[in-house]
């Protein structure tokens, strides 16, 4: 076993050690703690990129790397699995973490104690959830990331945050019980919690046991849909994300994707079990839920009075789009959904950071006032008398923020020329391809519904964003300029630059997503690699069943 083989566990170990080390340090030594945090996050990014590079090998057998914890064979011990999808999510998480940390270092990390340790533990939980190949470990990593997220959501304190976190914690504790019920039902029927072994055993189950297994899978699915904030389980999200401090909300943008990731992963592994259609996609229900989420989020966006909630609903739009896309199924659709996942996560994170910068100089009352004025058609009369001079100079800082806001609006609503457009275009084009151009038939009713809802939700997004933008950047109200440090703008610029890079390099990125999606298809390479992995040295102890008297 070389060092490269041990690299798989590094994304879990690095933040664990870093976070633990910070707890040992005196809380007043902020520079040392911040330095450890930066080093750990950069190391995570390096490891994630290395894993991603090594997962691009041409042969499918080499793209899935299996790590046996404790050196037991997969059916007895716990495994970590790094394939293309997991590596992609690791890179996305590490990138977001870098941007959020950069932003937080300007001022937010001083708003309360233990920001950096909690941040590292959240990363550990996220990375663990992406890498694990075992359902119960998934539960443990979920709890690790949730426990850290409770602390981070409360970061900065204040009544709104505490109240929103209260709801968030109750909902997640209740969903943890659902998770456990689902896991134990699956264990009780299939007799294993290893994902790869599950994929093998489900087809062999007795029909009576099979029904119970499916109930377990459904209960488990509900727990993941709560994480992905799908309608009607996602009402907690906009309030909670709007209340969280900006760098935390930016990192939380990837948390709803964990639910989506697990559904995609389990869906791919159990796909063959149900004869092509996966039991986790629940015969079209996932599609319906995705569409309902998008409709709800579009209405919510139009109704939002402040930008924080607007961003929260844009998280819901992206969740709904991805669920509907994989609910329809097909490699092309999964490819497009993965591209959309990366693009929308980066965009939403950038938007959360940007909102905080823009709103720094405003009071809450301004937003309500602006909407009220619009609603009652009141003209702002006094303004025009003063503004005899044609043209009002916009300060340079506001111009920069305005351009970033414009980019976010384009990305979120899916207008050209940025990556949001490419992502939505890919979804629509695979929809048309799949059912029409190559299939020779007509587009199914579901296809038309998805087409219409994606376009309408894009329209709602652009309406809501334009309204918020005009209110923020073009109104004549006297306002103080926000105090913004260049590092903070740098974090937003980094995320937006990555979206531009995704646009420019759309071809190679799309090819990678295609390879990822076809690797997921039927879950064969994954199951094969996990089952084929043997312990590296002869097992030091005999297995428990062969114990001699």
């Amino acid at each position: 076993m070389t060092l490269a083989d041990h690299l798989i566990i590094a994304p879990i170990i690095i933040p664990l050690i870093a976070g633990g080390l910070m707890l040992l340090l005196d809380g007043r030594r902020r520079e040392a703690i911040a330095a450890i945090s930066i080093l750990s996050t950069l190391a995570l990014l390096a490891v994630a990129v290395t894993l991603l590079m090594s997962s691009t090998a041409p042969e499918p057998a080499q793209t899935v790397k299996v790590y046996l914890l404790g050196n037991w064979p997969a059916s007895f011990g716990i495994v970590l699995v790094a394939d293309r999808l997991a590596a992609l999510m690791l890179v996305l998480t590490a990138t977001l973490a870098c941007a959020a940390l950069l932003f937080a270092l300007a001022s937010w990390h001083r708003a309360g104690s233990f920001f950096h340790p909690l941040f590292q533990f959240l990363l550990m939980g996220l990375n663990g959830a992406f890498l694990t190949g075992d359902l119960f470990n998934l539960f443990v990593f979920f709890e690790v990331l949730l426990a850290a997220s409770y602390g981070l959501a409360l970061h900065g304190s204040g009544r709104a945050r505490v109240s929103a976190s209260l709801h968030y914690i109750v909902i997640n504790l209740a969903s943890a019980t659902l998770f456990l019920i689902g896991v134990s039902l699956i264990y009780g029927t299939a007799g294993t919690l290893n994902m790869a072994a599950l994929g093998e055993r489900i087809p062999l189950l007795d029909p009576s046991e099979r029904r119970l297994m499916e109930i377990g899978a459904a209960v488990l699915g509900v727990a993941f849909l709560i994480k992905a904030a799908a309608w009607p389980l996602g009402f907690w999200l906009p309030t909670m994300y709007a209340a969280a401090s900006a760098p935390v909300a930016a990192l939380f943008a990837v948390m709803t994707k964990v639910g989506f990731y697990v559904i995609l992963r389990l869906g791919s592994i159990t796909a063959e079990a149900a004869g092509g259609a996966s039991i986790f996609y629940a015969e079209g229900w996932l599609f319906t839920i995705g569409i309902a989420t998008m409709c709800f989020a579009a209405i919510g966006m139009l109704a939002s009075q402040d930008m924080g909630r607007l961003a929260g609903y844009s998280v819901l739009v992206s969740s709904g789009t991805m669920l509907a896309a994989i609910g329809l199924g097909g490699t092309g659709m999964t490819t497009a959904a993965l591209y959309y996942l990366v693009s929308s996560t980066l965009t939403v994170a950038a938007f959360f950071l940007l909102i905080e910068l823009v709103e720094r100089g405003r009071s809450q009352a301004d937003d309500v006032l602006a909407v009220t004025l619009e609603a009652y058609g009141a003209e702002e009369e006094g303004e025009f008398e003063e503004a005899e001079v044609v043209g009002v100079a916009i300060p340079a800082l506001l111009a920069v923020l305005g351009v970033a806001f414009l980019a976010c609006a384009l990305l979120l609503s899916g207008l050209p020329p940025l990556s949001g457009f490419i992502a939505k275009f890919a979804i629509l084009s695979s929809l048309l391809d799949q059912h029409w151009l190559t299939g020779g038939g007509t587009i199914s009713l579901q296809g038309w519904i998805l087409l219409a809802v994606i376009l309408v939700s894009g329209l709602a997004t652009i309406v809501a964003m334009t309204r918020a933008g005009i209110r923020t950047f073009w109104t004549f109200t006297e306002r103080e300029l926000p105090q913004v440090r260049s590092v903070e703008i740098g974090a937003v610029a980094l995320l937006l630059f990555l979206c531009v890079a995704l646009t420019v390099q759309a071809g190679p990125v799309m090819r990678f997503m295609q390879a990822t999606a076809s690797g997921l298809e039927l879950g064969r390479p994954y199951i094969g690699a996990v089952q084929a992995k043997t312990p590296t040295v002869p097992t030091p102890r005999p297995p428990p069943s062969e114990v001699k008297p």
Partner: protein
Amino acid sequence: MELVIAITIGVLAGSGIWLLLRPRTFQVIIGLSLLSYAVNLFIFGMGRLRVGAPPVLDPSEPANLARYVDPLPQALVLTAIVISFAMTALFLVVILVARGLSGSDHVDSVERGS
């Protein structure tokens, strides 16, 4: 025994859900605790109920898996107990903070009708 366990799980889960839907934070936390007890028993039951069968192998006995009960659900229950205990403690702290900040023990931090 199956009937007793099933009724216990049902009563615990039922009261847990009812309390979870109540408006006071104290009721919610008790509801969550009851619910987690119900789930722990449920996981335990999923390893099949057997009386007098140990989960840990005894080297002095002849090796025969039929004498033993499945040890994995017991390990799972142990983990679940620890996690739910920690989460309940954390939730209690948040409840106390919310009570201190808002002066109300309503889950929305605002009394209905005030």
